[in-house]
Structure formats: C-alpha cells, structure tokens
Amino acid sequence: MSEDAVLPAKTGIAPQKVLGIFALALINVAAVLSIRNFPSMAEFGWSCIGWYIIGTILFLIPLSLAGAELATMLSDRGGGVYAWCKEAFGEKGGFVAIFCEWSNNLVWFPTVLAFIASTLAFALSPELASNPVYLFVVMMIAFWGTTAIAYFGENLSAKFQNYGVILGSIIPSVLIIGLGVYWILSGAPIVLPPFSPGEIVPAFNLSTLPFFATVILLFAGMEMAGFHALETRNPGTDYPKAMAISAIIIFACTVMATLAIAFVIPTDELSLAAGVMQAIQYFFEALNIPGAVAPMAVLITIGGVVSLAAWLIGPAKGLGVVAEEGNLPPVFNRTNKYGSPVAVLVIQALIGTLISLLYVFLPSVNQAYWILSAMTVELLCIVYLIVFASLIRLRYTRPDAPRPFRIPGGIPGIWLIGGMGAAGVIFSFIVGLMPTGDFTSSQAIGYVTGVLFGTFLLAVPPLIFLKLKKPSWVGGRTIQEGPK
C-alpha cells in the first residue's frame, strides 16, 4: 500500500530521459493521425486535397515550426504549452492556455470514447452499438484503462502510444493506401471524376464555412510532444526532427489514404450515416476481402484508444506542472512514484465519467452534440492563439535566448509563420460559431450564446484559481511513495 509523504516542491522524482526522436514523433502521430477522418474527408472528392492544403499551410506547418522553436528554447521546463505561454505572457497566459487544452479534452472525451465503443461493436456484433449499457461499459474500460496506463509513468505510456499508433493508425493507413494502389493498378474504375487542377479547389460559401474550422484543427495535437520535454534525451536536436517526421507521416498517410478511399467508394455511398466502419466495409468488399473488415475494426479501435491516450496524458502532465508551481489547490498537486500527476488524472477521469454518463444516457439530441463539438473547437482555438502569440512575443521579449531550432527569416519570418497560424485559428473561432442547418434562426442566437457561455465557463477557472491562490499552495508537494 502506498504511503503519502509531503516533500518540498521541485524535489520529486527526476524524470527519466526515455524518449528519442521516433518516440516523440509517434506521440504526435498518435494525437493527430486518425483513420476515422479519412472516409469523412473522402466525401469531398478531389477537393479534399485543397482542404488538406489549407489545413497544412494555415495550421500544420505553423504549429510544427512553433512547437519546434518553443520546445527547444524551453527544453528544460516541463508543462509543454503551459511553459511556452507562461514564458511569454506570465502565469495567467500559460495557465489559461493549458486549462483550455485540458478542458476541451473533457468535452471531447465522450465523443472519442463513443467512437471507440461503436467501432469495436462493429467487430463484435453491430447490434451492440445501440445498447447504451454496452457503450458506457466499453467507454469506461477504455477511459480508465488509459488513465491507468498514464498512472504508471512516461516509460509505459510512451511505449503504449508508440506501439499502439503503429498498430492502430499507421498500419491501417498503409494498408488502405496499398489497396488503393492495387485498385488502380488492377484497372478497376476510379469513381472520382477525371482530375483537373480546378477540382481540388474547395467550395467556399456559407454552408462550407463552419467546416473550415474543422479542417484547420484537423492537425490539432502537433504540440503534444512538447509535454514530454523533461523526458526527452536530447531535446535540442530531437524535437525539430521529431516534428518534421511526425508532420510528414501525418500528411502523407492522411492525404493518400483519403484519396484511396475516394477512388473506390462512390460519394453517395460514402455519406457517413452509419459510421466510418460502413465506408471501411464497402472499401474491403469492393476489393473482395470482406474478411478484413472485423480485424480492421479492431485496429481502428486501437487507434482510437491511442489517440485518447495521447490527449489524456499530455495536457494532464501540463496541468500537473501548474499544480506543482502552486497555481492550483494542493489537491491537484499529487504525483506518484512514477512521476505521474495522479491527482489530475483521477479528477480528469471522474469528470470525464460524469460527462460520458450524460452523453450516453440522456436522449441523443443532434443540436447538443453540435454545440459540444463547437465548444471543443473554440477552446482549442484559444489554446493555439496563445501559442502563436507566444511564439511572436518571445522573439521580442527574449530575442537572445538560445534557440537550437529557430524559424528562419528573422522577425518577418516569425510574423509570417505565427501570423498565418493565428489568422487561421481566429477565423476558425469565428466560423466555429456558425450553427448547422438543424437550428432555426431563433435557435441560432441561443446556439451562439450557449457556445460562447460554455467556452467562457470552461476557460475562466484559471483566473479564479490565481485570484484565490494562497502561499501554502506552493509549499508542499505530495508524492505517493511506493516500495523502495
């Protein structure tokens, strides 16, 4: 049985330097690369290329470069996004950024957990997907199981994410790409219209504008490796390489696998009413390998769990650092013998469980899910706006700080990269407030008010905690000690 001991701050267990280039890169890939995006994006046909290019220019490249510069500059600090934003805007800026990253997860967890459960049901027995008890049980096994893995520290969670992402995201992506190539080489008809450069230009109108926010944030999570700064062997050299490798893997797998699906499945069949697995089933049946559907469902389930793990562990580690610095009440400041922020993980799991209960057992209302998705988007936009603003500000406030990786081009270069990223997320924040067709004009006002109010409530606790902060919060750190 573990025993609690109060130790002075900063004297906890020294982080183990267990992460190299590929381990770091795969943490980012785990957070971003998801098979479930492919069929949805394939619905856009050739114009999915245009959407991906927009997301890459306005978000993937700026965030990768910003992450590389900030992570290498502040490689001796834990907390990832928190450390970066705190350096630029003080505790308030850093705390708001990391709290928004953490709180948006809590709203998003039920969505990804429901996806995991319904995808696994496809492999077991599709009828299960309509059973709320099954859904909730599987969701909780995935959620608390991932939390348990996080409990056992960086070494285990990194291995879990690394092996899991290869099995659940990279292998299925490569398989889909390979089968798409086989489809073309075998002379089978490509269902997309003949290619022309004009086909890749996405349509911009009031109907597609809300989708813009989704595309921009398609690559959200590229900052995830930054939370593991203290566990990285050679952060100065490994980070930029890890960022580059992960960006290339994510972009290549995403674009090619999406096109492979778009080549094989007609648009009207792709309409994802019955879920991603419907598209995957059609894909494999068209290729005369229906037996691959169930194993693929299992792999995609693993990919979902790994994505959950990446988002569950990273921001929790960041919030653990906030607690360690005395900006949260002492209840949050408990670290176990593996160096995991156990109190944050448990509180996160408790809140996530309650929200999942509402999600599964209350009547399903389309508008409610849309509002929750919108709140996730808005909170993420706040995080990334502060990150890009930090990138720019630090070039002015700490111009001479060593930066093993520096975005080229001096001040104009930093404004170009940071400015593009910031413009993308500001625009996403605005269009993220646009309602879907299921809202009447009178409901639309309630929708915007609800999204803004909910976003405000989930972003404001850091300001309250900082207001209530007591000197005693800084003094001690509780470490659950295990056997020596």
């Binding site: 995006n37 949805s40 619905e43 709203v107 969505t111 429901a114 996806f115 319904s118 599709p126 997907a129 309509s130 709320p132 859904l135 349509a203 109108n205 109907s207 597609t208 989708f211 989704t214 595309v215 944030l217 959200a220 648009t267 009207d268 792709l270 309409s271 994802l272 009413a273 019955a274 879920g275 419907q278 009440p329 002492p330 209840v331 509180i347 408790l350 309650l354 929200i355 509402l358 999600y359 599964v360 009547p363 399903s364 209302v365 389309n366 849309w370 509002i371 929750l372 998705s373 709140m375 996730t376 988007v377 879907t436 067709g437 299921d438 309630g446 609800g450 909910g454 409530l457 989930l458």
Partner: protein, 149 residues
C-alpha cells in the same frame, strides 16, 4: 476530515459543477425530437418547394439496429452543385437516438462531423458536404415539417 480536506473536496465539486453546468444546460435546452411517423418523402417535398432538383433517388437501409429503410437522394441546383442526402426511418426513439450518437461520434479530428443531420420524427436525415448552399434552402422547409411540441 481536516479543514484542508474539506476545502479540497469543495474545490473538486466546484470544478465538476463548472463542467457539468454548461453541458447539462445544453442537453436540457435542446430536448429530443419526439418520435412520430413522418409520411411521404420530406426531402423530395422540401427540394420541390425550394426549386432544388432531385437528380436521382434510390432505396437504402443503414446497417443499424431499428433502421427501417430510407432513400439516398442526389440533389442539384441551377448552378450545377450537387449534394448527397440520406434519409432513414427508425422504429423507436431509442434506435433513432443510437444512430444520432453513432453519427455524432464521427467527428473529423477534434472538430465537427463532415455532414449535417436534421431529425424529424422517426427520420434521421444526413446531408453530405454541401458545395452550393443547398442545405440552407432545404433545411428551412424540412424544419417546418416537424410536429410542433
């Protein structure tokens, strides 16, 4: 329980409330659409009323529990834009809600879903990506087919 423990639990409860408040409010503010039988073909009728052409229509049954069949429409406007729409009837509010949950979990990344859903009685109507603003024209007509609560 010491004062510090009490304060700790108060903090945790407040934090839980901060999360449950907006989320609980959202679920209460938007009550579920009642389950009732919708007659006719609402999408075809809404398209006809707004000058949208039904280019093609075919039968379809989703591989979901309680799905009773529906249609796949390809709608088109005068500018040549097309839109795929799927409709599906469900035998109960529970099976319809399970379908809504499944579809809503298919978000792209941490964003929203690619398509749009409209629920009318026993029917779930799924619109694919809309390059020409067809949804906004059809949706107004479709919502008027709902039985007032």
């Amino acid at each position: 329980m010491s004062d510090e423990d009490t304060a700790t639990w108060i903090v945790v409860i407040i934090l839980v409330m901060i999360f449950l408040l907006p989320i609980g409010w959202i679920f209460l503010a938007y009550p579920a659409e009642p389950h009732y039988v919708v007659t006719g073909e609402p999408v075809r009728e809404a398209a006809g009323a707004t000058g949208i052409t039904v280019i093609s229509a075919s039968n379809s049954t989703w591989p979901l529990v309680g799905a009773e069949g529906g249609m796949i429409y390809i709608l088109g406007d005068d500018a040549g834009n097309t839109l795929a729409v799927q409709t599906q009837r469900f035998d109960s509010a529970e099976s319809r809600d399970a379908a809504i949950l499944t579809i809503s979990a298919q978000t792209i990344g941490k964003g929203k879903t690619a398509g749009t859903l409209i629920v009318i009685g026993d029917q779930v109507i799924h619109f694919g990506p809309d390059p020409g603003g067809i949804i906004s024209r059809v949706a107004t007509e479709l919502r008027e087919k709902r039985v007032p609560r």
